[in-house]
Assembly symmetry: C3
Homo-oligomer: 385 residues x 3
């Protein structure tokens, strides 16, 4: 059904295999429409107000536009019809449909928050593709606090053990006080004292800056890519303090370990600058692409400003409804198509260059820093939707 006049660039974007370098599990159990609509709102930590609807958002419109076809529905189907059709499947069936349609060859799964969602093994099985772990540093810290013994040693031991089978680490420092303030490596004596206080208080969610900083430097030593939540997330994160420019001194001291700035809205231009400024810094629009829907092309265009093309990655940050794992890919394909065709049609880029940049962002850059094979042994992907 593809028109014969479709450009080589359009065809390439439609079929290119993606490495989704930051994602979470899919829902493992069914739920009601309220749960689904709330999952279309990222920032609000409370249930949506009665007058509101998760469908009346850019991501809601994008679900009805792009996800409908995967369920055999026409584009722009009414919310109620979409919901009824979706309800004819269980979450595992939905995940099989949407994960396959995403055209992703490798999934890099942050396992640090997994309440109500599939674990790594399930995710790999359902997607039919390789799923790799990304280890969350704050979870390692909590495990080290519970382990007892010398905290720094326990942290290091757990991190090394877990990371041996993982491809990278992740920090949610943005949610634990933000990036402003001292991010230097704390002396071990301070780390031990802080761990002692935390254990004495009974552990729980880690907010201590000394221990958070300690974890970052352990991740740098490990050498595997370190992902940072940056910018847009839920309101527990102070968006003002999630500006990646606060990371400047940390980045100056970060050596060669690849550092990946995730999501980045509304700081995607600042993040792109940092990706140019440091050989080891990368940028990824992540979550933002899903939530901008029809505005995702404008965001993707801004990601293509100062960031060198070998420093840009793709992820969906899907969590919960499997629509999001697919939609990230669909909107990214759609958005990069619009932006790059714009460059080519204006005479600014050649089509060959555009195709090459697509490959860099879709999988080459991620394959390089995570040391993944670019192809996938399980056969060609077949994006749908």
């Amino acid at each position: 059904m593809t028109p014969v006049t479709q450009s080589a660039l359009a065809q390439h974007i439609r079929q290119v295999a993606l490495i989704d370098q930051h994602v979470h599990g899919c829902w493992s159990t069914g739920g009601d429409r309220r749960r689904f609509e709330n999952a279309l709102n990222e920032a609000n930590t409370e249930p949506l107000a009665d007058f509101d609807s998760g469908f009346d958002t850019q991501v809601g419109f994008a679900v009805r536009n792009h996800c409908a076809a995967v369920l055999g529905l026409p584009k722009h189907v009414e919310p109620q019809q979409y919901w009824e059709r979706r309800s004819q499947f269980n979450e595992t069936e939905l995940a099989r449909l949407f994960l396959a349609a995403a055209g992703v060859s490798n999934w890099l799964v942050d396992t640090g928050f997994a309440e109500g969602v599939t674990d790594l093994a399930e995710f790999g099985e359902i997607s039919g593709r390789r799923a790799y772990e990304v280890v969350r540093l704050e979870q390692v810290a909590e495990q080290a606090a519970q382990a007892g013994g010398d905290y720094p040693s326990a942290f290091e031991e757990i991190l090394n053990r877990r990371a041996a089978g993982a491809v990278g680490t992740k920090s949610i420092m943005a949610y634990r006080g933000g990036f402003d303030g001292d991010l230097s490596e704390p002396p071990t004596t301070e780390v031990r004292a802080a761990a002692q206080r935390w254990r004495d208080e009974g552990g729980g969610r880690l907010h201590d800056r000394v221990l958070l900083r300690f974890g970052l430097y352990q991740a740098l030593r490990l050498g595997k890519p370190l992902q940072f939540h940056v910018g847009f997330g839920d309101r527990d994160c102070d968006l003002r303090k999630a500006n990646p420019l606060y990371l400047l001194d940390f980045l100056r001291n970060s050596g060669h370990t690849p550092i990946v700035l995730l999501h980045c809205y509304p700081y995607e231009r600042e993040a792109g600058y940092l990706a140019q400024a440091f050989n080891n810094v990368y940028v990824d629009g992540g979550l933002t692409v899903n939530h901008l829907g029809a505005r995702a092309p404008a965001f993707i265009a801004r990601l293509l400003e100062l960031a060198p093309f070998r420093k840009i990655l793709y992820s969906s940050d899907g969590f919960g409804p499997a629509e999001l794992h697919f939609l990230g890919a669909a909107l990214w394909r759609n958005g990069i198509d619009r932006v790059l065709h714009g460059f080519v049609e204006a005479g600014d880029w050649s089509e060959a260059d555009a195709i090459r940049v697509v490959d860099l962002i879709a999988h080459h850059n991620a394959a390089r820093i995570y040391r993944l094979a670019s192809g996938d042994p399980r056969g060609p992907i077949s994006p749908g939707g």
Copy 2:
């Protein structure tokens, strides 16, 4: 003269009635060209330099483009011709022409600063539509300081009395020190002490943070929508401290009272995020649309990123020359038309959805939070220009 092929969306946008949810009076007396040109510059508090012209700006070009027709002139007429034609009317005649042409069914008038402009009653009479009051909190504070007696009681009494006939309140804290710093509710003893100091100093313009914070919580208790000046205004406002992200803690404690972020430039994406993060937060481009002129569509597009569509409002923030009360509407119609047609033509939105979103922003959302009747008893509006 409308082409027969005009889309249903275009036709709808052209005719939809607007609720202008934040506006001021029109000039009540005539003035010279210098006054007019200065009114086309929002940020500068000094007279324009001799080498400059208020016409050589986006808003100046937009006046010559959109307002010219209302005065029977061709588009893009020369500034001198525009000025001469305008001078053939008095300000009341101009207001009648421009307010009618705006296609606004309800005007929500901030009466807190009204030097040289029409009052609420005059505004209602001239516009031929309902004009509702928005009570400025800093003015209530100044009245409470003058009233004598117990300050907190006086404030509460004046606010309740004035607000009984009003639809909402407004804070210009952005102009009185900005949003950074503590915005918690101060204890009554501190309020009394601060009021005493202020009265002892002879009152005057309110800058005391304790009293400003007190006013905000009184407005929250009142429960009617509370508008905040955010971002772009004149240079008395420190734009850096008018970033709405500084409001985070305040919003976390704000309960259910609707809070409306006005203007927002260049923080419209941050404001949209807050509108997603809190059930009671709303966003409105206000003043910005007028001053961006040909760039207003790009701004309106950014307002349609993270903000849920049931959380976006319209206003012109017109003050002084009645052109601005009309131009806000004309540029909004023009901008939303471009943006939504872009979404529809790209296949991202259906036309029916686009029409529905127009209604939400144009009047439904405002009618809901201000508890206004959506229609207007005085008959259909007829936008012109």
Copy 3:
């Protein structure tokens, strides 16, 4: 080869003479490909990583697009071919080609950092046009420290002497601690004490805030335009503290001396606001245009938001490879063409207005504030590429 249907606006943009109001020298000696690729990365202060290439960036693509023709190559030529062709010329020959092709009538040269590049006289000779000096304040400070004697008097004497033949001054305070913090004029006793400390420490790169502030006020007294590096530069500059909004209090006290905000990314909208807010503030996209390549039109559009049209300037900030001195002009012509044709085609601006705004930005505004003759005695410019 120009199509006969080319608009008057397009033709005007193609031929208009530019005043490049902020530029540096061209390389005076040859170098290897690594040096060239590093010069296409502005932000990184280290050599590019082995996996990276300066060609895989927006500016790299723009070089292959726009500069190739100047060297007789097809558009989008492969990097290796570009490099080989470039290597057939020496740097002076390249500079003659690229400077002539830029269509610049006057070059305003910041001589404060000139390692490995042509000096003012050479630049004038090679370009065949007038080159004027812009005096860097931090260099004057370093000369005053070395001069001995009373520091404030020495600074004033050197500044007045150097500025007599110069058109303006420049501050790189953004690189020396940034704009946040006190920017008031320090008392002379403090200046003397700070100078003494600096001299006692053996001088070197100036970071002392007292002396930096002192220099700014001397420049204001001089009355010639004062340029500020703002925003985007290399990572020695903390981009967060290079936000021009931190200049607010300084600008409030800056009197009538023209102040020019350079580069400004990602704060171009904040800078445009300041240009509206103060009669003496100007904005220029500078360096940013080169580094955004195909995204430069989007940036140029944002520069045309709040800034009055008589307050916007052009510069390339070229340094090193002469490609950059030409490319700034080529990308600016290309970008302003796209943006203004967009306004005209949408019916928002008349073509005559667009042509007039081109002249304002291209040369009229700069000629006015730097007191330059608008035409150039050496005959018409002939932009190429």
